[in-house]
């Protein structure tokens, strides 16, 4: 509660909260907001030559290359993309934190094995994994979320590993051990909180990149399949149109940016609020 109050007190965090709330609500209530089905290829949605229509009163964000209403696609796409950006990315960061932390903390054989496994995963081309999975599994949103999580945790693990190695050398960790604290306690209560800034940076920057990554993976056949919209695949489908139908690229792009940025503003504020050494002045 205190946290929420402090968040609201900060203008930037408040802005972030509002944007996130709007996006979440829009995703949730999409069917009641839009006039067109996101999949409906309207007969009058294309010019006679087959060009998409620019934004207008009828189509707030214009239409796409199949004559569908972009506004409703963006709204419905939010559902997919939020799951990717928040869940998939969140899981990736969580796995990365856990593995990096354990490897950095445990050292020895277990730590070494974990780190070598991480190295292996890192050396292994993600794209290939994606393609193979695409061929072997039934494509779905959850599969792509899983693949993103599988692919993206590696970098987080590496960074966290390095940081943890530095942290375990600090005296307060030695002190904690001398008190008889178990590994679990040291890891979760004393090391993890210090990794929060890193987690927040990766968690929030990852939103935009994973949303775009989803589009690449969907293109390779493992993600959501057409006609289901996602912010990433709206951009991806039409990225070569960025000159002739800029709204197809820049509107969803701006929305991804705004969403990621808002989460980041909240994340930054949270970090400051939760970090006691930053308390005091705003």
């Amino acid at each position: 509660m205190r946290v929420l109050r402090e968040l609201i007190r900060r203008p930037s965090a408040l802005f972030g909260l509002i944007v996130v709330a709007i996006v979440l609500l829009a995703a949730l209530f999409a069917p009641w907001i839009v006039h067109f089905s996101p999949d409906n290829q309207l007969t009058d949605g294309l010019s006679l030559e087959g060009a998409p229509l620019p934004p207008s009163g009828e189509h707030l964000f214009g239409t796409d290359t199949l004559g569908r209403d972009l506004f409703s696609r963006v709204l419905f796409g939010a559902r997919t993309s939020l799951i990717i950006g928040l869940v998939a990315n969140g899981v990736a960061v969580a796995i990365g934190l856990l593995v990096g932390l354990l490897a950095g903390y445990l050292r020895g054989t277990v730590g070494n094995l974990l780190m070598r496994f991480t190295d292996l995963m890192m050396a292994f081309p993600a794209l290939l994994l994606a393609i193979a999975l695409a061929a072997l599994l039934k494509p779905s949103l959850w599969i792509v979320a899983m693949v993103i999580a599988l692919v993206n945790w590696v970098q987080v693990a590496r960074i966290v590993y390095t940081e943890t190695r530095g942290l375990v050398e600090r005296d307060f960790i030695v002190a904690e051990r001398s008190l008889g604290a178990g590994n679990g306690r040291i890891i979760f209560l004393h090391i993890l909180p210090h990794l929060m800034p890193t987690a927040i940076v990766w968690g929030t920057l990852g939103i935009a990149t994973t949303v775009l990554l989803e589009a690449t993976l969907s293109f390779l056949g493992i993600g959501v399949q057409p006609p289901q919209p996602s912010w990433g695949n709206i951009i991806f489908e039409s990225q070569s149109y960025f000159q002739d139908a800029p709204w197809l690229v820049f509107i969803p792009g701006a929305i991804i940016l705004a969403t990621a940025l808002s989460f980041n503003l909240i994340g930054d504020a949270l970090r400051d609020i939760l970090d006691p050494t930053q308390r005091g002045r705003l």
Binding site: R116, Q155, I159, P197, A260
Partner: protein, 306 residues
């Protein structure tokens, strides 16, 4: 040190073997059949079978893999299915271009990321900080294809400052490296900022101030090295990240690197090329991380003494 090196090298070889095994397995289970693709549309099942035999694809998986590893040890990456030529020279011909591009990309992103990250951390909370963080987000959230084309339209097609396509002179590198680096720079800026903020409030920074050092010196010489550790790890990781980035950038700028080769091979299920590129990039990544592990002790003496 030699012991450390030897151990890491053994590990690296094991990792490469692991990558080879997994890749091999995945490719084996792909539904697409290279023999069908090679034999063409007019082929009869016998012809397909004959080609499968020629490629050795009718042998059990284990035999195929052992055979592959066997020739690998002789430095033989096999022959491309579609190009009917040795894979190694194909990769070697393109590798320098990709390495150059990656190196340039890393320089760009590290330079931009460090500069902006430091500035942001020092003027934390101010207008400059906010603008930089906003920019870094724009960088991170932009689809690379669009960034690449935009840069190309503006700086090559319209202004004519750089050539639109190709490889060879220093001017050719600028736009591709920028495209690659812009995205990464956003990441670096955030990481650097976050690490610097942590470091800037340490006691030893206060000590440095107490010595009467200039602000710049305190930041660059006393704070920065302490914040570098995660950044070095990032550079190691980046090599892996770039492997996918180069596909797009090379395609847009007509850069003759292995990204394009890999992409085409994947499209055509040219297994030997996919394996080759995978191994080469895995090697690059392993070496990159090795290098990062290697550099870290020079930056942080506490790690050195362990």
């Amino acid at each position: 040190m030699t012991v450390f090196l030897a151990r890491r090298l053994v590990q690296a070889v094991l990792i490469l073997l692991g990558v080879a095994a997994i890749t091999f397995l995945l490719l084996y289970y792909l539904p697409a059949d290279p023999a069908v693709l090679i034999a063409g549309r007019s082929a009869t099942p016998q012809m397909v079978a004959a080609i499968r035999h020629e490629l050795g694809l009718d042998q059990p998986l284990v035999m195929q893999f052992l055979h592959y590893v066997g020739s690998l040890l002789h430095g033989d990456l096999g022959r491309s299915y579609t190009q009917k030529t040795e894979v190694l020279p194909l990769i070697l011909a393109r590798l320098p271009a990709t390495l150059l591009l990656m190196a340039a990309g890393i320089v760009v992103e590290v330079a931009l990321g460090l500069t902006f990250g430091i500035i942001s951390a020092v003027w934390r909370g101010g207008f400059v900080d906010r603008s930089i963080m906003m920019l870094s987000f724009v960088g991170v959230s932009s689809p690379q294809f669009v960034v690449a084309l935009l840069l190309l339209y503006v700086f090559a097609a319209t202004l004519g400052w750089f050539p639109m396509s190709g490889f060879g002179t220093a001017r050719h590198v600028v736009l591709p490296a920028l495209t690659l680096g812009v995205l990464g720079a956003g990441w670096y800026a955030r990481m650097v900022r976050s690490a610097m903020i942590e470091v800037l409030r340490q006691d030893y920074v206060r000590t440095a101030h107490a010595k009467g050092l200039s602000g710049r010196r305190v930041v660059l010489s006393h704070a920065l090295p302490n914040a570098l550790l995660p950044i070095i790890a990032m550079v190691g990781i980046d090599i892996g990240q770039f492997m996918s980035g180069v596909v797009v950038v090379e395609a847009v700028y007509g850069w003759p690197g292995i990204g394009q080769l890999a992409w085409q091979a994947i499209q055509q299920v040219d297994v030997p090329i996919i394996m080759g590129v995978t191994l080469v990039s895995a090697l690059a990544i392993v070496l990159g991380n090795l290098l990062a592990d290697f550099v870290a002790p020079f930056v942080d003496p506490r790690i050195r003494s362990q």
